[in-house]
Symmetry: C2
Subunit: 727 residues, 2 copies
C-alpha cells in the first residue's frame, strides 16, 4: 500500500470553475495533486545540500590553493580525499532530495514503467483505440475497442443494478444537444471556463495554469540547488493554483518569465475559454446550442414531471447515463482527461429538513479510508473510519450523503477497485460552492496519482432554484399537513392612488420598497404611523428618504391557515466518471507473471462481473471431434447468455491461455474428449474436469456470482496437467 | 390487417441525399409514402364526379329555366327531384373519392384518434417528455422518461444478445464529435443536405420538398374537382420528389405559386442546407468538427485494427450502439423524426467473391411479407415469401444479406412488432447508390404509414475505399493462397528522360496517360511500336494526340508469383433506428378495454422482455402485515434482479391494476395473506395463488422467458376473485 499523504488545495485545472460552477463534475478534472512532503525533511535536505555545496566549493578552493602552493603530496591527497568524501555526501543528499521531489519513494520510474505496460496491453488488445487513428487522431478522443466496450457495458449494467434497480430510481435519457438558455441558467455559459494563453506568434493555445504548474514542478523536481525559500514559494503557487485570478496567473507567468514551451515565444495574457462545444440548432443559425457538459441538467429541468411521476412524494432519485462533452484546451493524461466521456449521474431529491435515510444502517458498519477536511489541513493522512461514526460525529454532513458514500464504496470494490487505493476525500472549504452543504470525492490511486472518479455532493437547493428563476416554472415540493396550521402573516397594502399623487413618477419605486420591508421594519413603521401619523422611509432605489403618511399604506398581521409547506428540495448528487473508473480498474487489475523476468505474461484479474469475455473455448488440438465439442459448448454458452470466444488456432494451449489472460477472461474450457472437458481458472491456473453437458451452466453460475471457483474446486475432480500453461 | 398497397418512388425528404450519400441511414427519413391507389378507380371517380357536376349544373339551369317560364308545379317538382337525385349521386361519388384519397378505407380519422390515445398515454406516463419543456422545448428533441428509458435499455440489451453475442460481433464505442476529414471522406460534408427555402421577408426556413409535398397532398385530398389529368400530375410529382434537383424543385414551387405557409410571403429559391451539427474542436477554432450523423464511420476507420483483432480473417462483423445527430430543418411527426437519436449499426465485412453465410439455413424457412422492386413497380402488393426462396431465386442478392433480413425479422417480432404490419421493402433502382448491390428496408406500419425502421444494405466496398483514398491507409483484406499462383502482369515503363526531352512541360501528362492504358491499348501500342517504331497516342488531359516512339516506353508482360489476393471487403450493413422501432412498438402494443365505451382503460401488451417494469407489488389493503409481506417480496425481487415497483397507496386494487396496465407491467403480485399471494397476468387478467417464498423466482422465470404464463397457469391453483379488476 502506498502511503497516503496530506495535501493542500489542488493544482486543479479548473480556475474559476469551482467557485463559479461548483458542480462536482468539474472536480473530475483535477488529477495530479501535489503531495506536500513532510516539509521539514525536504527543507532540511535543501538546506543541507546548499551547505554541502558551499563546503565542496570551499574545500575545492583549498585543494587548488594547496596545489598552487606546491604543498606536499600527502597533504594534497588528504585534501582531495576530504573533497571526494564531501562530494559523496552531497550526492547522497541529492539522491534523497530527488527521491522526495519525484514521488516520495523513488519508485516514480517503475510507476511509469507499470503504466506503460498496462497501456501497451490495453492498446494492443484494443481495449481502447485513439479515435480516427488513420487520420492521425484527435487529442482527447478515444474509441473503446471490443473488450473495452464489453467492460464498459458490464460496468454500466452493474451500475444500473446496484443503484437504479436497488433504489427504484427514475432513470431518464436526455439529448446531448442543449439549448443555450438551460446552460445559461445553470451557469455554464458564463462560468464554465479555463484560463488560456496564446503563443503570440504562432497562436498555439495553452492552459495558463498548466504552464505555471509545469514550471513550478520542473523547478522543484530538477533544480536541486533551489533555496528552501524558493521551493516553499513554488509549492505555495501550486497549492493555490485554483484560486488564482486571470490577472494573478498572468502576473506569475510574467514574473517567472514563462514562454511558449514549443517555440519559446512570448505568451498573451490569460483569458477565459469556455469549455463547451458550441453548435447551432435548426437552420436559421439563431438558436445557439451546446453539447452538454454534464447530464444532470436534463434531470433538473424535468423535476416537476418526475416528482409527479413519483406520486408527489419525497425523497426520490433520478438517474442518467450518457455522453458529456468538454472541449479541453490541451488534453493530457490519456484516458483520464478526454473531450467526450460517459457520465452516470444520480440526483437524489430530499426535504432539506430531513436528510435521514431509511437504509443507512445497511452501510453504517462499513470501514474504509476517509480523508476529512481537518486531516487534510493539518497534514495528516487518510485513515480508516467507520461510516456510521463519521455521520454521527458530523464529519459527514447527513445520513443520505453518508448512505451514498457507502454505496459508492460497495460499487467500486465490487468492480475490483483495490480497497487500499480508494479513499473518500472531503472537499476543502475553498473547493466547495458557497451553497453546498458537503462534498466528498471517491478518489482512486493509480500511476497518475489520486484520481477523482466519483463526486458525492449535497448541493442544497441551488440547481432547482436556478431553473425556477430562469424558466418561471416553480420546481418545488410540498409537504401536506395532516392538520392545517395557523400562521401569522405580515400583510403590506400600499395605497397606490395616494402614493401616485404624492410621488408621481417615483411611485413604483416607493411601492416596491414598501412591499419589500422586513417584518421588523414594517412593524416599526406601523407603530410610527399609528402614533405620529407619518414616518420617514428610505427608498434605496431612489437613494432618498420620503415621508409616508398613514393613509398611504396599510400594515397588518393576519392569521392564516396553511395546509402545506412548499419548499425547494435539496439534491444529493453522486456523479460517476465511468471512463476514469474503468481506467483505474485496468491498473488495479493488471499484473505480470512468468517463469522468469524475460518471459512475463500480462494478466487482468477482472472479476467475472467485469470481464469483457467470460469464457474461452479451445479444442486441445486441431481434431474434428474436439472442434465439434467446442462448437457444441459454444452453442450452449450462447443459449445461456455467456459471452465467449472460440480459439480454433493451432497454437499451443499455453499460448492460447496467455492470450486470453491478457483479456482478463476468467475461465477457459479446453475440449480434450467428447464427454468431459476441463475448466481452468485464470489467476490460480487450477483446472477441474466437468461433463460437456454441464459445463455451460457451471460457467454461467460462476459468472453470475451464484457460485465461486472454490465451490467448483470442491465439487469436481481436479485436472492435473499443470503444465498446460507452460506449453 | 391493413391492406398493403403498392407504391412508386417515395416522397422521401432527402432530395439529393440518396443519390449522393446513399447510406441507408438516410432512408430513415422517408416516412409517409404515397400509396398510389388502384388507379382506374380513382381516375374513373374523378371523371364520374366531373360528369355528374356537369349534369347537376345543366339540370340546375333547366330547373331555373322552368321556374322563369312559370312552368307547372308538377313539372318543376319533377325537375327538382331529378336534380336532387343527381346531387345525391354526386355526393356519393364524392364520398368514395374522399375515402380513397384520404387513406384507402376511410379510417383516417380513427387512425388519428388512435395515435392521439397512444401519444397521450405515453406523455402522461412519461414514456417520453419533450426536452427542456420548462423552457418551451426544442423541436425534434425528446427525453425518455423512466418507463421509456427502461424500454430502451431492454431493447438495446436484447439487441446485444440477439446480434452481438449471437454472432460474436466486435462491438466498439466511438465518440460523437468527429473531425471534418472523416466526414469529408464519407461524403457527408459535401452531400448530406436537404433543400431549403426561406420566407423572403421573415427568414423562416422550410424544407422545399415538404412544401411541395404538402401542396400536392392537399390538392389531391381536398380538391375533389381536380381533373384526372391534374391529379395524375400531382401524383407524379410526389412519386419523383426524391429525384428533383434544386432547380426543378424551385420551378415547381414557382409554377404552383407555393408561398410561405405561415405568412403567405414569397419564398427564396431552394438551396442545400447541410444537416450536420457543426462545432469546433479545441481552442484554436481551426479544427472543424461535426456531431456524427451515423455511427458507421467509426467502424470503417477502425477496419484495419478490427481485422487484425479478428485474426486477419473474414467474414466478421463490428457493431456499435450510440447517439447520432441530424440538424433537421423542421422536424415533424413527433418521435419519428428527431434531431438526436440512438442508432445500432452492424458492419459485416465479407469477401466480395463469397457472400454465402454458414448459418443461412437457420433462417431459410422463415416466411414474411416481402416487397421486391418488381412488385412495387408493377403496382402489386407485398406478399408473404419464403426467405430461402427469395435468396435462391435471386430476389435477395446474396445469402449474407438474406441472413440478416431473417435475423432482423426475428428481432423485431420478438420485441412484439406485429408480423402483419412488418414488411421488407427492396429499394428501387433510383433509391439505391450506384455501387450498392442490394438494399432492403424493414418497414413497420403505424398511424403515420409505413415507417423505415431498419435498413439492410449490401454497400459493396464503397466506404472502405473512400477512407483508404482519403487517409492513405489501405483498408484491405488478404486471402492467402495455399499454393502461390502464377499470374501474368502488364508492365508499362515510360522513359521519362526521353519523354521530357520530347514533350517538356507536357511530360507529366503523357507519362500518366501511358501508365493508365488498359491492357488492350497497351498491347496495341506495343505491336505498333514493334512494327512501325512509333504510334499516335491521344493524351486526354492535354486534349491532343502525340507521337510515341519505341524508345519512349517499354511495354511487357511479366509472369509473377502471387502468394495472396489483396482486396477491399464488401460490407453488409443492418442499421437500426432504435427510437423508431420503439415508437412503432408502442403503437403495436397499445389497446383499450373496459366495461363500456366511456370507461376505456389503456394497456400496453409488452412482452416481459420489453416491459419497463416486470412486476408490481401491492398490499391488498393498507395493513401492516400485508405491507411487510410486500416489502419482503420486493427485497426478493431485487435480489433476483427483477425490476418492480411497490404501490402502497390506498387505491382500490382495480385502480392499481389499471395504473400498471398502462405502463405495460406484465405481472402484478397482490399480498393478501402472510403465506400466499396472487400473481395476475396483465392481458388475460387471470390470477394464480403462490407462496411468498416462491413468488420472486416464478416472476423471474416468467420475465427471463424460462417459463410462460401457461406453465404457471397449469402448475398453480387459480385465484377466483375475478372481480378485482373491477373494484
Amino acid at each position: 500500500m502506498r502511503s497516503v499523504v496530506a495535501r493542500f488545495s489542488s493544482s486543479s485545472p479548473s480556475i474559476g470553475r469551482h467557485s463559479s460552477i461548483p458542480r462536482l463534475l468539474s472536480r473530475f478534472l483535477s488529477l495530479h495533486r501535489l503531495a506536500p512532503m513532510a516539509a521539514p525533511s525536504e527543507e532540511s535536505l535543501r538546506k543541507a545540500l546548499a551547505d554541502k555545496q558551499a563546503a565542496v566549493d570551499s574545500r575545492g578552493n583549498a585543494v587548488r590553493a594547496l596545489k598552487a602552493a606546491k604543498a606536499s603530496k600527502p597533504e594534497i591527497d588528504a585534501a582531495i580525499e576530504a573533497l571526494n568524501s564531501l562530494k559523496l555526501e552531497k550526492s547522497s543528499i541529492e539522491q534523497q532530495l530527488q527521491a522526495i521531489v519525484r514521488g516520495g519513494d523513488g519508485s516514480s520510474l517503475s510507476r511509469e514503467e507499470f503504466r506503460q505496460a498496462v497501456v501497451n496491453t490495453l492498446e494492443r488488445r484494443l481495449f481502447y483505440i485513439p479515435s480516427f487513428k488513420i487520420y492521425r487522431g484527435v487529442a482527447g478522443l478515444y474509441d473503446y475497442g471490443p473488450p473495452g466496450c464489453a467492460v464498459k457495458a458490464n460496468v454500466l449494467s452493474f451500475w444500473r443494478q446496484h443503484f437504479v434497480l436497488e433504489e427504484n430510481m427514475l432513470e431518464v435519457d436526455c439529448p446531448c444537444v442543449t439549448p443555450e438558455i438551460v446552460l445559461k441558467a445553470s451557469g455554464h455559459v458564463d462560468k464554465f471556463t479555463d484560463l488560456m494563453v496564446k503563443d503570440e506568434k504562432t497562436g498555439t493555445c495553452y492552459r495558463a495554469d498548466h504552464l505555471l504548474k509545469d514550471f513550478c514542478n520542473e523547478k522543484l523536481q530538477k533544480d536541486l540547488t533551489l533555496s528552501a525559500e524558493k521551493a516553499a514559494e513554488f509549492k505555495h503557487v501550486l497549492a493555490t493554483l485554483d484560486d488564482l485570478s486571470a490577472d494573478e496567473l498572468g502576473a506569475k507567468i510574467k514574473e517567472y518569465g514563462i514562454v511558449a514551451p514549443d517555440t519559446k515565444n512570448p505568451l498573451s495574457d490569460p483569458y477565459p475559454f469556455n469549455l463547451m462545444f458550441q453548435t447551432s440548432i435548426g437552420p436559421s443559425g439563431l438558436l445557439r446550442g451546446f453539447m452538454r457538459p454534464e447530464t444532470a441538467q436534463g434531470i433538473f429541468v424535468n423535476f416537476k414531471d418526475l416528482y409527479y411521476y413519483n406520486g408527489n412524494r419525497l425523497p426520490f432519485a433520478a438517474a442518467q447515463i450518457g455522453q458529456a462533452f468538454r472541449n479541453e484546451i490541451s488534453p493530457r493524461q490519456g484516458l483520464l482527461r478526454v473531450r467526450e466521456f460517459t457520465l452516470a449521474e444520480i440526483e437524489h431529491f430530499v426535504d432539506p429538513e430531513d436528510k435521514s435515510h431509511p437504509k443507512f444502517q445497511e452501510v453504517a458498519d462499513l470501514e474504509f479510508l476517509m480523508f476529512p477536511r481537518e486531516q487534510q489541513m493539518s497534514g495528516q493522512s487518510a485513515t480508516k473510519m467507520c461510516l456510521g461514526e463519521a455521520v454521527s460525529k458530523g464529519t459527514v454532513n447527513n445520513e443520505t450523503l453518508g448512505y451514498f458514500i457507502g454505496r459508492v464504496y460497495l460499487f467500486l470494490t465490487h468492480l475490483g477497485i483495490d480497497k487500499e487505493r480508494l479513499r473518500f476525500r472531503q472537499h476543502l472549504a475553498n473547493e466547495m460552492a458557497h451553497y453546498a452543504a458537503d462534498c466528498w470525492d471517491a478518489e482512486i490511486e493509480c500511476s497518475y496519482g489520486w484520481i477523482e472518479c466519483v463526486g458525492i455532493a449535497d448541493r442544497s437547493a441551488y440547481d432547482l432554484r436556478a431553473h425556477t428563476e430562469k424558466s418561471g416554472v416553480a420546481l418545488v415540493a410540498a409537504e401536506k399537513f395532516t392538520q392545517p396550521r395557523e400562521v401569522e402573516k405580515l400583510v403590506i397594502t400600499p395605497n397606490k392612488k395616494e402614493l401616485g399623487q404624492a410621488f408621481s413618477r417615483s411611485q413604483k419605486n416607493v411601492v416596491e420598497a414598501l412591499e419589500a420591508m422586513t417584518e421588523e421594519e414594517a412593524m416599526k413603521m406601523k407603530a410610527a404611523l399609528e402614533s405620529k401619523g407619518a414616518d420617514e422611509f428610505l427608498v434605496c432605489t431612489l437613494g432618498e428618504t420620503v415621508t409616508i403618511k398613514a393613509s398611504m399604506v396599510k400594515i397588518s398581521k393576519e392569521k392564516k391557515k396553511e395546509h402545506q409547506r412548499v419548499f425547494t428540495p435539496s439534491v444529493i448528487e453522486p456523479s460517476f466518471g465511468i471512463g476514469r473508473i474503468i481506467y483505474c480498474l485496468y491498473e488495479h487489475s493488471f499484473y505480470r507473471r512468468g517463469k522468469n523476468k524475460e518471459e512475463q505474461l500480462n494478466v487482468f484479474r477482472f472479476p467475472p462481473l467485469v470481464a469483457p469475455i467470460k469464457c474461452t473455448v479451445f479444442p486441445l488440438i486441431q481434431k474434428p471431434e474436439y472442434e465439434a465439442v467446442a462448437q457444441r459448448i459454444s452453442k450452449l454458452l450462447t443459449a445461456a447468455g455467456v459471452s465467449h470466444i472460440i480459439d480454433m488456432s493451432g497454437n499451443t494451449i499455453g499460448k492460447r491461455y496467455a492470450r486470453t489472460d491478457e483479456l482478463g477472461v476468467p475461465f477457459a474450457i479446453t475440449a480434450d474428449s467428447e464427454s468431459d472437458v476441463t475448466i481452468r481458472e485464470r489467476d490460480s491456473k487450477d483446472q477441474v474436469r466437468i461433463s460437456v453437458d454441464e459445463v455451460a451452466l457451471v460457467v454461467k453460475g460462476l459468472t453470475d456470482g451464484q457460485r465461486t471457483w472454490a465451490d467448483i474446486w470442491a465439487a469436481y475432480p481436479h485436472h492435473s496437467s499443470a503444465s498446460a500453461d507452460d506449453e
